[in-house]
Symmetry: C2
Subunit: 637 residues, 2 copies
Amino acid sequence: MEREQKEFRELTSSKEARNIINAIKIKPALKKVPLGHANNRILAEDVFSDIDVPAFDRSVKDGFAVKAQDTYTATEIEPVTLENIGSIAAGCVSDLALDSGEAIEIATGAPIPEGADAVMMVEHTISENGNILARRAVHINENIMRTGADIMKGERVLRRNVRIGPREIGVLASIGISQVTVKELNVGIISTGDELVQPGSELYAGKIYDANSYAIAASVEECGAKPIVYGIVKDDERAMSDAIDSALQECNMVLTSGSTSAGVGDVMYKIIDEKGKTLLHGISIKPGKPVIIGIVDDVPLIGLPGNPTSALSIFNEFIAPMIYDSLETIPPFRTKVQAVMGTSIRSEGRRELYPVGLIRGKVYPADKTSGAITTLAEADGIIEISEETEYLEAGKTIDVTLFGNIAPVDLMIVGGQCPGIDLLEDLTGMKFRVINMGSSRGLSAMVAGIADIAGINLAGSGDDKLEAIRSTGISNAVLVKGYRREQGLIVRPESNIKSLEDLPGKKIVNRNRGSGTRALLDKLLEELAVKKGTTKTELVKMMPGYSSGSRTHRAVCDTILNKKAEVGFGIRPFAQTVGLKFIPVIVEDFDFLINKEIMNIPQVRKLLVALRSHNFATALPYGIFTYERTGEIIENI
Amino acid sequence: MEREQKEFRELTSSKEARNIINAIKIKPALKKVPLGHANNRILAEDVFSDIDVPAFDRSVKDGFAVKAQDTYTATEIEPVTLENIGSIAAGCVSDLALDSGEAIEIATGAPIPEGADAVMMVEHTISENGNILARRAVHINENIMRTGADIMKGERVLRRNVRIGPREIGVLASIGISQVTVKELNVGIISTGDELVQPGSELYAGKIYDANSYAIAASVEECGAKPIVYGIVKDDERAMSDAIDSALQECNMVLTSGSTSAGVGDVMYKIIDEKGKTLLHGISIKPGKPVIIGIVDDVPLIGLPGNPTSALSIFNEFIAPMIYDSLETIPPFRTKVQAVMGTSIRSEGRRELYPVGLIRGKVYPADKTSGAITTLAEADGIIEISEETEYLEAGKTIDVTLFGNIAPVDLMIVGGQCPGIDLLEDLTGMKFRVINMGSSRGLSAMVAGIADIAGINLAGSGDDKLEAIRSTGISNAVLVKGYRREQGLIVRPESNIKSLEDLPGKKIVNRNRGSGTRALLDKLLEELAVKKGTTKTELVKMMPGYSSGSRTHRAVCDTILNKKAEVGFGIRPFAQTVGLKFIPVIVEDFDFLINKEIMNIPQVRKLLVALRSHNFATALPYGIFTYERTGEIIENI
């Protein structure tokens, strides 16, 4: 019964969640830090100056201290002669006092001597036999910065709650402050889950690496608070309770992640209820369902989702504001841009924080697969979808909240994986979003209009490729001939495999369905079957692992290196690099399908220039090469 | 002759300076850091994944692993019964294999058992006598995240040169990386000048605190490079040369400040010329004239101006881009806003980086006095004035490059200094720019239209103040009655001064000319003179220090505490706080003149609400108090 209740518990609306969070007041600790460590910290108290800046009347120019009145008649033609009675360097105090008709050489920053009331710049004087000729008049106070003109003793120079930056540090140093009191908000971070292991240690079966401890700690740091990482705790009530107790003792706020769902776990809920008070359990915004917010002896204890992308989204949306509020500082700008949906998105009728990519002002979903950690890393920002919205149509204008300092993506390339694309990115200096899904997924992304460019090695080499492209129904694209790649068998050096004919009976690692390389192998095996008087199906039956689907050329090589397969099929470069043997079988064309509408934008022109460049030709790895058709444009798809 | 040349040397245009800077290539060092210290660093190499993420087919829901085919007929009305043969928790590996008609309880994150091809959410099942009733159908792969669906082994997950943030850290952790190679650019920082002393130590006569070392170090850090501070070096060629040698050895770039002007110093120029090559000496943009850029054994050696505001401006404009470029990372957004000149600025016909404040979208000069360190701290951004521009007229639209994360200023208040204003700022939660220049400067700022509000205690208490205001020619303002303040004599507790009559013969500290408090004392002494049958001038002659000009009430108190004067005149609160004796003399009105045009903006309305609030009345310090006229509005000035 108890269980039933929790599953169907009522979620708190995100507005109400914000109200609950706003009502939580955390008092950060105060800490004195040396000025050299104060950057980016929050000043805890008003700072008043104990000194005048400057502390004395000082010269702001190199020149001569004079009585202004002595110079009133001076001109270039009829200069006034003054007796040079000495000099004052910066940092020195002088007993010299100036009388009428006298001048004292003075350096920038040096104190004005008694009797002087102006400084004449050296450029307006001529030195002559121990005298100086003043060639123009100066007025009283000219080139003098008076005591306290910058900062007066007793003045408030900085207000509390300001975020200390280089400019504030300069001001603090200039009034002689070497230590400053800042706010310190300690945030305890605990990852929970039996499946977690720490990065750097071995990944046993069934385990995953703990990403949350690190990602949340870095986020806490960005807010100006101090993360204290307690590491991984097993999904065990006693262990979690103990870890949380330590964290509660030492921190102003405690964040856990994992063990908050309504299922097997629900331990966090129980722990908060026992130790303190649960303020909410579940926010009705995707991905806020598993969130728990409680308070124990005035310390907020917050359970975040176990999935890192969800945990970071909730942190940014709900927890970061709580930290900024507690530090009484303004959060950094979250840059909002208006952009146009590049594709349609169907929503679940639930309020949602939806990670998106932004490519030349167009918005695309960044979600590779539900629960992926890469989602956030590949996203440029978040759109918020309301519960009323079921369908966001392509072309609709929408607000995107950007993740800080994002380099805009120039081109989105979907399709076959190739080091040639990485090289083009490096040579052009542009930023590509490369989604390696195989040539046929590249084609469908072009049909769907969500890719700028598809990299394809589909249907082997030659112009039969055109037919394959046309058959997909693509009509909005131009085909640009790319480069050639050697495809062949990849084996360990000691292998006795010599050709395709040796494959039957061997354990093979294959590429993913949809990759051009796999399609090429299929075709080659069909030809072999004809030659052998059998069928491809029969041949493949004799090759265990043929249905496997490594998504990259490097992954194929790794599988062979690790002896999980004897042979693979792919391009030369990676095999070569890791010391495997490459047996050439065929040369294929790797081409680019480019959306017709963007053929003339600077980004595509840059790409084409790079593709045809000598630099590109010479920098390609062995086994990939340009030829006479590289860069050729075929418009009539 | 040599000297002549340097003085009239040709300055490099800022465009040419940028070209010179762009041509300098610095190669940062590489450093392996633990993931916990990688935030905000620049990734030095591409990162490929050595594992699949997830490393196994995993359940993304709590529920039951099943064969999808078994569930195809299941509905709520006619559920399918499956035998529950066990359970798998997250982090565990199970030998269980699933046959048709069976189900295995499975937790989110647990590996899918052999034989299963879908997970049914627990919400769609009912448990019954060791069996489960499946109440709906699931399709193949439902609620399963396949091996490598997030990250494939061999995939490039992060590109080199990316700035590592929480999201990147999450990705790195999730593929098990605990250490990451980042770029490390060591920037040596040297402050030069005999007049400099370190903050925290005693400020001897003629000295100033070194602000540059700290402010530049913090700026270097913000760029993602590592500052190495070498401290203060005397203006001595040998000492500077030695310090620079050490820095050149240990750093990828060396910044000095000071000793670059054409006058007494010019040491830096000589040192660079001896050790390496001078690339430029002086940039024709104010404040770039003293800048020197040289190169010694491929290490850039750069002399910045000694004035901290100039040094930071040049750093931001020319040196930060060099650092970003060397780290091969994109600089952070520099937010540009369009704003309207709130006042006119006269330029010198020289290209200029001009610090400005931004108040509700209007641009005002932030320069308090030439060479002030507070300038940058009080500025919100920079405008660039071209050499052709001699006059920037009020009302003209202009681009302002903001300094990062600036809280917008709500109201600009110029005039008399009073803790009541600080209290209003705290109570309203707004941000004021308060410029304490005295009441009469407040009035002229209102006339000039550069203040929103003037705080005035001019002409004592009562409505004779109206006359003083009218006589300034102000016609665009409304007078809002503020609060009352006790003004009186401030003495040390042991003093035998009892009243104004005791002043002659005593050393006094006075407020600055233009302050209402000084004007009030003048008036009181005039009355006293009449009573005594003498003149104010005669009275004042007997009070040494009467011509002094402390700009704040606190500074007056400090002077008395330090026994540099016996008596001062001012308001009660500060005197009380620091343990001085306050002898009440008169009660005055402290009022607000508010620009008529902004009377109805929310910021002013908030201010008026706060002024009339009970909170304000009770939080005022002893000696300042509201009364029946507080908040009263007098429109007819």
